[in-house]
Symmetry: C2
Subunit: 304 residues, 2 copies
Protein backbone atom coordinates (compact mmCIF):
# COMPACT_ATOMS: atom_id res chain seq x y z
CA UNK A 1 0.00 0.00 0.00
CA UNK A 2 1.22 3.47 -0.81
CA UNK A 3 1.85 6.25 1.69
CA UNK A 4 0.12 9.52 0.82
CA UNK A 5 0.71 13.03 2.11
CA UNK A 6 -1.82 15.82 1.53
CA UNK A 7 -0.65 19.34 2.28
CA UNK A 8 -3.55 21.37 3.69
CA UNK A 9 -1.34 24.32 4.56
CA UNK A 10 2.40 24.95 4.44
CA UNK A 11 2.93 28.62 5.22
CA UNK A 12 4.16 30.19 8.42
CA UNK A 13 2.64 32.94 10.56
CA UNK A 14 -0.85 34.00 9.45
CA UNK A 15 -3.59 32.55 7.28
CA UNK A 16 -4.18 34.66 4.17
CA UNK A 17 -6.60 34.64 1.28
CA UNK A 18 -4.63 32.07 -0.70
CA UNK A 19 -2.23 30.49 1.78
CA UNK A 20 -2.87 28.42 4.87
CA UNK A 21 -0.89 27.79 8.03
CA UNK A 22 0.49 24.34 8.77
CA UNK A 23 -1.69 21.24 8.53
CA UNK A 24 -1.26 18.00 6.64
CA UNK A 25 -2.82 14.57 6.34
CA UNK A 26 -0.60 11.49 6.27
CA UNK A 27 -2.27 8.32 5.00
CA UNK A 28 -0.23 5.34 6.07
CA UNK A 29 -1.45 1.75 6.57
CA UNK A 30 -5.14 2.72 6.65
CA UNK A 31 -4.54 5.49 9.15
CA UNK A 32 -5.38 9.07 8.36
CA UNK A 33 -3.17 11.10 10.68
CA UNK A 34 -3.68 14.85 10.93
CA UNK A 35 -0.44 16.67 11.66
CA UNK A 36 -0.82 20.22 13.01
CA UNK A 37 -4.01 22.20 12.70
CA UNK A 38 -3.67 25.92 11.96
CA UNK A 39 -6.71 28.17 11.68
CA UNK A 40 -8.91 27.15 8.75
CA UNK A 41 -7.78 23.52 8.67
CA UNK A 42 -11.35 22.22 8.83
CA UNK A 43 -12.21 24.15 5.67
CA UNK A 44 -9.10 22.80 3.93
CA UNK A 45 -10.10 19.28 4.97
CA UNK A 46 -13.45 19.85 3.26
CA UNK A 47 -11.80 21.40 0.21
CA UNK A 48 -9.53 18.36 -0.10
CA UNK A 49 -12.48 16.00 0.48
CA UNK A 50 -10.99 14.33 3.54
CA UNK A 51 -13.64 12.33 5.37
CA UNK A 52 -13.73 13.80 8.89
CA UNK A 53 -14.68 10.50 10.51
CA UNK A 54 -11.45 8.87 9.30
CA UNK A 55 -9.32 11.20 11.42
CA UNK A 56 -8.75 9.47 14.74
CA UNK A 57 -5.32 10.78 15.72
CA UNK A 58 -4.11 14.38 15.63
CA UNK A 59 -0.48 15.32 16.25
CA UNK A 60 0.33 18.90 17.26
CA UNK A 61 3.98 19.97 17.04
CA UNK A 62 3.80 23.07 19.24
CA UNK A 63 1.47 25.73 20.57
CA UNK A 64 2.19 28.62 18.21
CA UNK A 65 -1.08 29.65 16.61
CA UNK A 66 -0.16 28.77 13.04
CA UNK A 67 0.09 25.13 14.14
CA UNK A 68 -2.90 24.74 16.47
CA UNK A 69 -5.50 27.55 16.34
CA UNK A 70 -7.79 25.46 14.12
CA UNK A 71 -8.00 22.55 16.54
CA UNK A 72 -10.75 23.74 18.88
CA UNK A 73 -12.98 24.47 15.88
CA UNK A 74 -12.34 21.05 14.39
CA UNK A 75 -13.13 19.33 17.70
CA UNK A 76 -16.30 21.39 17.91
CA UNK A 77 -17.31 20.58 14.32
CA UNK A 78 -16.79 16.86 14.97
CA UNK A 79 -19.31 17.25 17.81
CA UNK A 80 -21.82 19.07 15.61
CA UNK A 81 -21.48 16.30 13.04
CA UNK A 82 -22.42 13.85 15.83
CA UNK A 83 -19.12 12.00 15.66
CA UNK A 84 -19.00 8.85 17.74
CA UNK A 85 -15.44 7.59 17.20
CA UNK A 86 -12.74 8.31 19.77
CA UNK A 87 -10.33 11.12 19.01
CA UNK A 88 -6.73 11.13 20.25
CA UNK A 89 -4.69 14.29 20.42
CA UNK A 90 -0.92 14.23 20.92
CA UNK A 91 0.26 17.70 21.85
CA UNK A 92 2.48 19.67 24.20
CA UNK A 93 1.27 20.01 27.76
CA UNK A 94 -1.16 22.91 28.04
CA UNK A 95 -3.35 22.31 25.02
CA UNK A 96 -5.78 20.19 27.01
CA UNK A 97 -6.38 23.10 29.39
CA UNK A 98 -6.98 25.51 26.48
CA UNK A 99 -9.46 23.23 24.74
CA UNK A 100 -11.36 22.15 27.84
CA UNK A 101 -11.63 25.75 29.06
CA UNK A 102 -13.20 26.75 25.74
CA UNK A 103 -15.60 23.80 25.80
CA UNK A 104 -16.56 24.68 29.37
CA UNK A 105 -17.25 28.33 28.52
CA UNK A 106 -19.32 27.27 25.50
CA UNK A 107 -21.10 24.61 27.58
CA UNK A 108 -20.37 22.30 24.64
CA UNK A 109 -18.75 19.02 25.60
CA UNK A 110 -17.98 16.42 22.96
CA UNK A 111 -20.34 13.49 22.67
CA UNK A 112 -17.39 11.34 21.60
CA UNK A 113 -14.39 10.37 23.69
CA UNK A 114 -11.61 12.90 23.47
CA UNK A 115 -8.20 11.77 24.74
CA UNK A 116 -5.32 14.15 25.25
CA UNK A 117 -1.84 12.67 25.28
CA UNK A 118 0.19 15.54 26.64
CA UNK A 119 3.84 15.63 25.69
CA UNK A 120 6.68 17.04 27.73
CA UNK A 121 9.64 14.70 27.19
CA UNK A 122 12.78 16.17 25.66
CA UNK A 123 14.01 12.90 24.20
CA UNK A 124 12.34 10.94 21.42
CA UNK A 125 9.54 8.72 22.70
CA UNK A 126 7.08 6.24 21.23
CA UNK A 127 3.65 7.89 21.48
CA UNK A 128 1.49 5.65 19.29
CA UNK A 129 1.72 2.04 18.23
CA UNK A 130 -0.57 -0.55 16.73
CA UNK A 131 0.20 -3.73 14.77
CA UNK A 132 1.14 -1.80 11.63
CA UNK A 133 2.56 1.61 12.56
CA UNK A 134 4.67 3.34 15.21
CA UNK A 135 4.87 7.07 15.87
CA UNK A 136 7.79 8.67 17.71
CA UNK A 137 8.41 12.26 18.73
CA UNK A 138 11.39 14.11 17.28
CA UNK A 139 12.51 16.79 19.77
CA UNK A 140 13.05 20.03 17.85
CA UNK A 141 14.80 23.28 18.73
CA UNK A 142 12.29 26.11 18.56
CA UNK A 143 11.29 29.13 20.63
CA UNK A 144 8.84 27.03 22.65
CA UNK A 145 8.61 23.31 23.37
CA UNK A 146 8.23 21.59 19.99
CA UNK A 147 8.20 18.06 18.60
CA UNK A 148 8.43 16.70 15.12
CA UNK A 149 6.89 13.28 14.49
CA UNK A 150 8.32 10.14 12.95
CA UNK A 151 5.79 7.75 11.40
CA UNK A 152 7.19 4.32 10.72
CA UNK A 153 5.44 1.30 9.20
CA UNK A 154 6.27 -1.95 10.93
CA UNK A 155 7.85 -4.63 8.81
CA UNK A 156 5.03 -6.79 7.46
CA UNK A 157 4.83 -10.58 7.40
CA UNK A 158 6.76 -12.58 4.81
CA UNK A 159 4.70 -13.68 1.79
CA UNK A 160 4.26 -17.39 1.08
CA UNK A 161 5.65 -18.57 -2.26
CA UNK A 162 2.76 -21.01 -2.71
CA UNK A 163 4.40 -23.05 -5.46
CA UNK A 164 7.45 -23.65 -3.28
CA UNK A 165 5.32 -24.31 -0.18
CA UNK A 166 3.21 -26.94 -1.95
CA UNK A 167 6.29 -28.43 -3.55
CA UNK A 168 7.89 -28.85 -0.13
CA UNK A 169 4.62 -30.44 1.14
CA UNK A 170 4.37 -28.27 4.28
CA UNK A 171 1.25 -28.68 6.44
CA UNK A 172 -1.12 -25.69 6.45
CA UNK A 173 -0.75 -25.51 10.25
CA UNK A 174 2.79 -24.14 9.71
CA UNK A 175 1.79 -21.29 7.34
CA UNK A 176 1.46 -18.77 10.21
CA UNK A 177 4.98 -19.59 11.43
CA UNK A 178 6.33 -19.34 7.88
CA UNK A 179 4.88 -15.84 7.52
CA UNK A 180 6.59 -14.92 10.78
CA UNK A 181 9.95 -16.02 9.31
CA UNK A 182 10.49 -19.38 11.04
CA UNK A 183 11.98 -22.51 9.46
CA UNK A 184 9.40 -25.32 9.68
CA UNK A 185 9.31 -29.10 9.08
CA UNK A 186 7.62 -30.60 6.03
CA UNK A 187 5.42 -33.69 6.21
CA UNK A 188 8.50 -35.90 5.90
CA UNK A 189 9.93 -34.24 9.03
CA UNK A 190 12.70 -32.39 7.17
CA UNK A 191 13.38 -28.81 8.24
CA UNK A 192 12.65 -26.35 5.40
CA UNK A 193 14.60 -23.06 5.28
CA UNK A 194 12.09 -20.18 5.51
CA UNK A 195 13.69 -18.14 2.74
CA UNK A 196 13.35 -21.03 0.27
CA UNK A 197 9.53 -20.91 0.48
CA UNK A 198 8.72 -17.27 1.36
CA UNK A 199 9.35 -13.82 -0.09
CA UNK A 200 10.37 -10.69 1.77
CA UNK A 201 7.53 -8.28 2.60
CA UNK A 202 7.51 -4.83 1.06
CA UNK A 203 10.01 -2.47 2.67
CA UNK A 204 8.23 -0.52 5.42
CA UNK A 205 7.82 3.18 4.71
CA UNK A 206 8.65 6.05 6.98
CA UNK A 207 7.84 9.76 7.16
CA UNK A 208 9.35 12.44 9.37
CA UNK A 209 7.65 15.78 9.97
CA UNK A 210 10.02 18.44 11.32
CA UNK A 211 8.52 21.89 11.77
CA UNK A 212 9.24 24.33 13.37
CA UNK A 213 12.93 24.09 14.19
CA UNK A 214 16.27 25.83 14.11
CA UNK A 215 19.06 23.98 12.31
CA UNK A 216 19.37 20.99 14.59
CA UNK A 217 21.73 18.09 13.90
CA UNK A 218 20.45 16.33 17.01
CA UNK A 219 17.46 15.10 15.00
CA UNK A 220 19.64 13.25 12.47
CA UNK A 221 20.00 9.93 14.35
CA UNK A 222 16.21 9.80 14.83
CA UNK A 223 15.28 10.45 11.21
CA UNK A 224 18.21 8.52 9.68
CA UNK A 225 17.24 7.06 6.27
CA UNK A 226 13.54 7.83 6.43
CA UNK A 227 11.85 7.64 3.04
CA UNK A 228 10.40 11.13 3.24
CA UNK A 229 11.41 14.10 5.35
CA UNK A 230 9.21 17.20 5.57
CA UNK A 231 11.52 19.85 6.94
CA UNK A 232 10.69 23.47 7.52
CA UNK A 233 12.44 26.07 5.39
CA UNK A 234 11.05 29.40 6.44
CA UNK A 235 13.67 31.43 4.61
CA UNK A 236 15.92 31.45 1.55
CA UNK A 237 19.58 32.47 1.71
CA UNK A 238 19.07 36.19 1.29
CA UNK A 239 17.18 36.24 4.60
CA UNK A 240 19.40 33.66 6.32
CA UNK A 241 20.21 36.09 9.13
CA UNK A 242 16.60 35.86 10.27
CA UNK A 243 16.73 32.08 10.70
CA UNK A 244 18.76 31.65 13.88
CA UNK A 245 17.10 34.37 16.02
CA UNK A 246 13.61 33.13 15.10
CA UNK A 247 14.69 29.47 15.48
CA UNK A 248 13.79 28.64 11.90
CA UNK A 249 15.77 27.24 8.95
CA UNK A 250 16.75 28.15 5.43
CA UNK A 251 16.15 25.78 2.52
CA UNK A 252 19.87 25.00 2.47
CA UNK A 253 19.88 24.07 6.14
CA UNK A 254 16.92 21.75 5.57
CA UNK A 255 18.80 20.17 2.68
CA UNK A 256 21.89 19.72 4.82
CA UNK A 257 19.86 17.81 7.42
CA UNK A 258 18.33 15.69 4.63
CA UNK A 259 21.77 14.89 3.25
CA UNK A 260 23.33 14.01 6.59
CA UNK A 261 20.33 11.83 7.49
CA UNK A 262 20.49 10.21 4.05
CA UNK A 263 16.73 10.44 3.55
CA UNK A 264 14.97 9.41 0.35
CA UNK A 265 13.03 12.58 -0.44
CA UNK A 266 13.01 16.03 1.12
CA UNK A 267 9.81 18.08 1.09
CA UNK A 268 10.23 21.74 1.93
CA UNK A 269 7.53 23.85 3.59
CA UNK A 270 6.63 26.39 6.28
CA UNK A 271 7.57 29.23 3.97
CA UNK A 272 7.52 32.77 5.24
CA UNK A 273 4.57 34.58 3.69
CA UNK A 274 7.00 37.18 2.27
CA UNK A 275 7.76 34.90 -0.70
CA UNK A 276 5.46 34.74 -3.71
CA UNK A 277 7.79 32.60 -5.81
CA UNK A 278 8.93 29.37 -4.16
CA UNK A 279 11.37 28.23 -6.85
CA UNK A 280 14.34 29.68 -4.98
CA UNK A 281 13.69 27.31 -2.07
CA UNK A 282 14.03 24.35 -4.41
CA UNK A 283 17.06 25.56 -6.32
CA UNK A 284 18.95 26.50 -3.17
CA UNK A 285 18.19 23.16 -1.49
CA UNK A 286 19.24 21.29 -4.64
CA UNK A 287 22.75 22.69 -4.37
CA UNK A 288 23.09 20.34 -1.36
CA UNK A 289 20.57 17.52 -1.77
CA UNK A 290 19.19 15.97 -4.95
CA UNK A 291 15.65 14.87 -4.33
CA UNK A 292 13.75 17.99 -3.28
CA UNK A 293 10.01 18.59 -3.56
CA UNK A 294 8.09 21.74 -2.66
CA UNK A 295 5.01 21.54 -0.46
CA UNK A 296 2.10 23.63 -1.68
CA UNK A 297 -1.39 23.99 -0.23
CA UNK A 298 -3.58 21.29 -1.74
CA UNK A 299 -0.65 19.32 -3.18
CA UNK A 300 -0.61 15.53 -2.74
CA UNK A 301 2.48 13.34 -2.67
CA UNK A 302 2.19 9.59 -3.10
CA UNK A 303 5.04 7.26 -2.21
CA UNK A 304 4.73 3.75 -3.61
Amino acid sequence: MSMKLTILGCYSATPRTNTNPTAQILEIKNHMFLIDCGEGTQVELRRNKVKFSRIKHIFISHLHGDHCFGLVGLISTFRLLTREADLHIYAPKGLKEVITLQMKLADSWTNYNLYFHELSATTSELIFEDDKVEVYTIPLDHRIYTNGFLFREKTGERKLDMNAVLNEDIDVAYYRKLKQGADVPNKKGELVANRSVTKAPKAPKSYAFCSDTAYNEAMIPIIKEVDVLYHESTFVEKHSKLAAPTKHCTAKQAASIAKQANVGTLILGHYSTRYDDLSEFKSEAETIFNNVLLAKDGRQFTFE
Copy 2:
Protein backbone atom coordinates in the same frame (compact mmCIF):
# COMPACT_ATOMS: atom_id res chain seq x y z
CA MET B 1 -21.94 60.33 6.81
CA SER B 2 -23.35 56.97 5.90
CA MET B 3 -23.36 53.88 8.09
CA LYS B 4 -21.95 50.79 6.39
CA LEU B 5 -22.25 47.13 7.31
CA THR B 6 -19.98 44.48 5.76
CA ILE B 7 -21.00 40.88 6.32
CA LEU B 8 -17.87 38.72 6.68
CA GLY B 9 -19.82 35.64 7.71
CA CYS B 10 -23.49 34.98 8.44
CA TYR B 11 -23.89 31.24 8.85
CA SER B 12 -24.30 29.23 12.02
CA ALA B 13 -22.32 26.26 13.33
CA THR B 14 -19.24 25.40 11.26
CA PRO B 15 -17.12 27.19 8.67
CA ARG B 16 -17.37 25.50 5.27
CA THR B 17 -15.75 25.95 1.89
CA ASN B 18 -18.11 28.71 0.81
CA THR B 19 -19.77 29.91 4.00
CA ASN B 20 -18.35 31.57 7.08
CA PRO B 21 -19.46 31.76 10.68
CA THR B 22 -20.55 35.07 12.20
CA ALA B 23 -18.44 38.20 11.81
CA GLN B 24 -19.28 41.66 10.52
CA ILE B 25 -17.80 45.12 10.29
CA LEU B 26 -19.91 48.14 11.19
CA GLU B 27 -18.56 51.47 9.97
CA ILE B 28 -20.22 54.26 11.89
CA LYS B 29 -18.87 57.78 12.54
CA ASN B 30 -15.30 56.88 11.54
CA HIS B 31 -15.28 53.80 13.73
CA MET B 32 -14.72 50.36 12.30
CA PHE B 33 -16.30 48.00 14.81
CA LEU B 34 -15.80 44.25 14.43
CA ILE B 35 -18.78 42.30 15.72
CA ASP B 36 -18.13 38.62 16.46
CA CYS B 37 -15.16 36.75 15.10
CA GLY B 38 -15.74 33.16 13.99
CA GLU B 39 -12.90 31.00 12.67
CA GLY B 40 -11.49 32.42 9.45
CA THR B 41 -12.55 36.03 10.13
CA GLN B 42 -9.04 37.36 9.53
CA VAL B 43 -9.04 35.86 6.05
CA GLU B 44 -12.46 37.37 5.32
CA LEU B 45 -11.17 40.75 6.53
CA ARG B 46 -8.38 40.45 3.96
CA ARG B 47 -10.76 39.28 1.25
CA ASN B 48 -12.98 42.31 1.93
CA LYS B 49 -9.94 44.63 2.04
CA VAL B 50 -10.59 45.86 5.57
CA LYS B 51 -7.53 47.64 6.92
CA PHE B 52 -6.57 45.74 10.08
CA SER B 53 -5.20 48.82 11.82
CA ARG B 54 -8.59 50.54 11.69
CA ILE B 55 -10.16 47.91 13.96
CA LYS B 56 -9.85 49.18 17.52
CA HIS B 57 -12.95 47.70 19.16
CA ILE B 58 -14.19 44.13 18.90
CA PHE B 59 -17.56 43.05 20.30
CA ILE B 60 -18.16 39.36 21.00
CA SER B 61 -21.77 38.26 21.56
CA HIS B 62 -21.08 34.91 23.22
CA LEU B 63 -18.55 32.14 23.56
CA HIS B 64 -19.88 29.57 21.11
CA GLY B 65 -17.14 28.81 18.62
CA ASP B 66 -18.92 30.14 15.55
CA HIS B 67 -18.82 33.60 17.14
CA CYS B 68 -15.33 33.73 18.65
CA PHE B 69 -12.89 31.00 17.52
CA GLY B 70 -11.20 33.40 15.08
CA LEU B 71 -10.34 35.98 17.73
CA VAL B 72 -7.12 34.53 19.12
CA GLY B 73 -5.71 34.23 15.60
CA LEU B 74 -6.65 37.81 14.76
CA ILE B 75 -5.03 39.10 17.96
CA SER B 76 -1.94 37.09 17.09
CA THR B 77 -1.86 38.36 13.51
CA PHE B 78 -2.13 41.96 14.75
CA ARG B 79 1.01 41.24 16.78
CA LEU B 80 2.86 39.77 13.80
CA LEU B 81 1.92 42.86 11.78
CA THR B 82 3.59 44.94 14.55
CA ARG B 83 0.38 46.74 15.45
CA GLU B 84 0.83 49.59 17.89
CA ALA B 85 -2.71 50.84 18.43
CA ASP B 86 -4.69 49.75 21.48
CA LEU B 87 -7.27 47.01 21.00
CA HIS B 88 -10.44 46.79 23.11
CA ILE B 89 -12.43 43.59 23.37
CA TYR B 90 -15.95 43.55 24.80
CA ALA B 91 -16.90 39.95 25.53
CA PRO B 92 -18.51 37.66 28.09
CA LYS B 93 -16.44 36.88 31.14
CA GLY B 94 -14.07 34.00 30.42
CA LEU B 95 -12.68 35.04 27.06
CA LYS B 96 -9.80 36.92 28.63
CA GLU B 97 -8.68 33.75 30.38
CA VAL B 98 -8.86 31.74 27.13
CA ILE B 99 -6.87 34.27 25.13
CA THR B 100 -4.23 34.97 27.76
CA LEU B 101 -3.74 31.25 28.40
CA GLN B 102 -3.06 30.71 24.69
CA MET B 103 -0.67 33.65 24.54
CA LYS B 104 1.14 32.35 27.59
CA LEU B 105 1.53 28.85 26.13
CA ALA B 106 2.79 30.32 22.85
CA ASP B 107 5.07 32.72 24.75
CA SER B 108 3.67 35.38 22.42
CA TRP B 109 2.40 38.47 24.17
CA THR B 110 1.05 41.38 22.18
CA ASN B 111 3.32 44.38 21.68
CA TYR B 112 0.22 46.60 21.67
CA ASN B 113 -2.16 47.23 24.57
CA LEU B 114 -4.93 44.70 24.72
CA TYR B 115 -7.89 45.60 26.94
CA PHE B 116 -10.59 43.13 27.85
CA HIS B 117 -13.93 44.53 28.95
CA GLU B 118 -15.60 41.47 30.39
CA LEU B 119 -19.38 41.44 30.40
CA SER B 120 -21.65 39.72 32.88
CA ALA B 121 -24.61 42.07 33.40
CA THR B 122 -28.06 40.75 32.55
CA THR B 123 -29.57 44.16 31.89
CA SER B 124 -28.60 46.51 29.07
CA GLU B 125 -25.54 48.60 29.87
CA LEU B 126 -23.50 51.28 28.15
CA ILE B 127 -20.15 49.66 27.32
CA PHE B 128 -18.56 52.20 24.96
CA GLU B 129 -18.99 55.92 24.48
CA ASP B 130 -17.12 58.73 22.79
CA ASP B 131 -18.30 62.11 21.52
CA LYS B 132 -20.03 60.57 18.49
CA VAL B 133 -21.22 57.05 19.32
CA GLU B 134 -22.63 54.98 22.15
CA VAL B 135 -22.71 51.18 22.35
CA TYR B 136 -25.11 49.32 24.63
CA THR B 137 -25.51 45.62 25.31
CA ILE B 138 -28.78 43.90 24.43
CA PRO B 139 -29.28 40.91 26.75
CA LEU B 140 -30.34 37.94 24.63
CA ASP B 141 -31.87 34.59 25.48
CA HIS B 142 -29.51 31.84 24.31
CA ARG B 143 -28.07 28.60 25.66
CA ILE B 144 -25.16 30.45 27.25
CA TYR B 145 -24.70 34.06 28.38
CA THR B 146 -25.16 36.21 25.25
CA ASN B 147 -25.42 39.88 24.38
CA GLY B 148 -26.50 41.67 21.27
CA PHE B 149 -25.10 45.17 20.73
CA LEU B 150 -26.84 48.45 20.02
CA PHE B 151 -24.75 51.07 18.21
CA ARG B 152 -26.22 54.54 18.36
CA GLU B 153 -24.86 57.73 16.86
CA LYS B 154 -25.18 60.71 19.13
CA THR B 155 -27.21 63.62 17.84
CA GLY B 156 -24.76 65.95 16.11
CA GLU B 157 -24.56 69.73 16.48
CA ARG B 158 -27.06 71.99 14.76
CA LYS B 159 -25.82 73.50 11.48
CA LEU B 160 -25.55 77.30 11.19
CA ASP B 161 -27.74 78.86 8.49
CA MET B 162 -25.04 81.41 7.64
CA ASN B 163 -27.32 83.76 5.69
CA ALA B 164 -29.69 84.01 8.65
CA VAL B 165 -26.82 84.30 11.15
CA LEU B 166 -25.22 87.20 9.25
CA ASN B 167 -28.58 88.80 8.73
CA GLU B 168 -29.23 88.76 12.49
CA ASP B 169 -25.74 90.21 13.06
CA ILE B 170 -24.69 87.65 15.71
CA ASP B 171 -21.13 87.85 17.04
CA VAL B 172 -18.86 84.93 16.03
CA ALA B 173 -18.23 84.25 19.74
CA TYR B 174 -21.81 82.87 19.95
CA TYR B 175 -21.49 80.38 17.06
CA ARG B 176 -20.45 77.54 19.38
CA LYS B 177 -23.55 78.10 21.57
CA LEU B 178 -25.77 78.27 18.47
CA LYS B 179 -24.47 74.89 17.31
CA GLN B 180 -25.32 73.52 20.75
CA GLY B 181 -28.92 74.73 20.35
CA ALA B 182 -28.94 77.83 22.60
CA ASP B 183 -30.77 81.08 21.87
CA VAL B 184 -28.17 83.91 21.80
CA PRO B 185 -28.24 87.73 21.70
CA ASN B 186 -27.37 89.66 18.54
CA LYS B 187 -25.17 92.75 18.55
CA LYS B 188 -28.19 94.92 19.34
CA GLY B 189 -28.78 92.85 22.49
CA GLU B 190 -31.96 91.18 21.16
CA LEU B 191 -32.37 87.48 21.91
CA VAL B 192 -32.42 85.41 18.67
CA ALA B 193 -34.36 82.15 18.62
CA ASN B 194 -31.90 79.33 17.81
CA ARG B 195 -34.21 77.64 15.29
CA SER B 196 -34.49 80.81 13.24
CA VAL B 197 -30.75 80.75 12.43
CA THR B 198 -29.77 77.03 12.56
CA LYS B 199 -30.80 73.82 10.89
CA ALA B 200 -31.35 70.45 12.53
CA PRO B 201 -28.41 68.01 12.27
CA LYS B 202 -28.83 64.80 10.34
CA ALA B 203 -30.88 62.24 12.22
CA PRO B 204 -28.48 59.99 14.16
CA LYS B 205 -28.31 56.43 12.90
CA SER B 206 -28.59 53.27 14.91
CA TYR B 207 -27.83 49.58 14.40
CA ALA B 208 -28.78 46.63 16.55
CA PHE B 209 -27.02 43.26 16.26
CA CYS B 210 -29.04 40.42 17.81
CA SER B 211 -27.52 36.97 17.42
CA ASP B 212 -27.86 34.33 18.83
CA THR B 213 -31.21 34.38 20.55
CA ALA B 214 -34.49 32.63 21.08
CA TYR B 215 -37.62 34.64 20.31
CA ASN B 216 -37.30 37.31 22.97
CA GLU B 217 -39.71 40.22 23.28
CA ALA B 218 -37.66 41.59 26.16
CA MET B 219 -35.25 43.13 23.65
CA ILE B 220 -37.97 45.25 22.02
CA PRO B 221 -37.78 48.30 24.34
CA ILE B 222 -34.01 48.42 23.85
CA ILE B 223 -34.03 48.26 20.06
CA LYS B 224 -37.21 50.33 19.59
CA GLU B 225 -37.12 52.23 16.28
CA VAL B 226 -33.51 51.51 15.39
CA ASP B 227 -32.72 52.16 11.75
CA VAL B 228 -31.32 48.70 11.11
CA LEU B 229 -31.82 45.46 13.01
CA TYR B 230 -29.67 42.40 12.24
CA HIS B 231 -31.62 39.56 13.80
CA GLU B 232 -30.72 35.92 13.67
CA SER B 233 -33.00 33.58 11.73
CA THR B 234 -31.44 30.17 11.97
CA PHE B 235 -34.47 28.35 10.60
CA VAL B 236 -37.42 28.69 8.23
CA GLU B 237 -40.94 27.60 9.17
CA LYS B 238 -40.61 23.96 8.15
CA HIS B 239 -37.94 23.52 10.86
CA SER B 240 -39.62 25.81 13.40
CA LYS B 241 -39.75 23.03 15.97
CA LEU B 242 -35.94 23.18 16.20
CA ALA B 243 -35.89 26.88 17.13
CA ALA B 244 -37.08 26.85 20.75
CA PRO B 245 -34.97 23.91 22.01
CA THR B 246 -31.80 25.30 20.43
CA LYS B 247 -32.69 28.88 21.53
CA HIS B 248 -32.69 30.17 17.98
CA CYS B 249 -35.32 31.90 15.84
CA THR B 250 -37.18 31.45 12.58
CA ALA B 251 -37.30 34.18 9.94
CA LYS B 252 -40.91 34.90 10.95
CA GLN B 253 -39.97 35.35 14.59
CA ALA B 254 -37.21 37.77 13.60
CA ALA B 255 -39.74 39.69 11.50
CA SER B 256 -42.18 39.79 14.39
CA ILE B 257 -39.53 41.38 16.62
CA ALA B 258 -38.70 43.89 13.85
CA LYS B 259 -42.38 44.78 13.49
CA GLN B 260 -43.03 45.19 17.21
CA ALA B 261 -39.85 47.29 17.60
CA ASN B 262 -40.87 49.35 14.55
CA VAL B 263 -37.35 49.23 13.10
CA GLY B 264 -36.45 50.69 9.72
CA THR B 265 -34.80 47.70 8.06
CA LEU B 266 -34.45 44.07 9.09
CA ILE B 267 -31.39 42.10 7.99
CA LEU B 268 -31.65 38.34 8.42
CA GLY B 269 -28.64 36.10 9.06
CA HIS B 270 -27.15 33.24 11.08
CA TYR B 271 -28.69 30.72 8.73
CA SER B 272 -28.38 27.03 9.48
CA THR B 273 -25.95 25.49 7.01
CA ARG B 274 -28.69 23.07 5.93
CA TYR B 275 -30.15 25.71 3.56
CA ASP B 276 -28.70 26.28 0.11
CA ASP B 277 -31.44 28.63 -1.03
CA LEU B 278 -32.07 31.60 1.26
CA SER B 279 -35.08 33.05 -0.55
CA GLU B 280 -37.51 31.31 1.80
CA PHE B 281 -36.10 33.31 4.74
CA LYS B 282 -36.99 36.54 2.96
CA SER B 283 -40.41 35.53 1.74
CA GLU B 284 -41.45 34.15 5.11
CA ALA B 285 -40.25 37.26 6.96
CA GLU B 286 -42.03 39.51 4.46
CA THR B 287 -45.38 38.03 5.42
CA ILE B 288 -44.91 39.95 8.70
CA PHE B 289 -42.52 42.85 8.04
CA ASN B 290 -41.97 44.81 4.84
CA ASN B 291 -38.36 45.88 4.67
CA VAL B 292 -36.30 42.68 4.80
CA LEU B 293 -32.77 42.19 3.51
CA LEU B 294 -30.73 38.99 3.48
CA ALA B 295 -27.20 38.94 4.85
CA LYS B 296 -24.71 37.11 2.65
CA ASP B 297 -20.99 36.61 3.13
CA GLY B 298 -19.21 39.52 1.47
CA ARG B 299 -22.37 41.61 1.09
CA GLN B 300 -22.25 45.31 2.02
CA PHE B 301 -25.18 47.41 3.15
CA THR B 302 -24.93 51.19 3.15
CA PHE B 303 -27.45 53.32 5.03
CA GLU B 304 -27.44 57.00 4.07
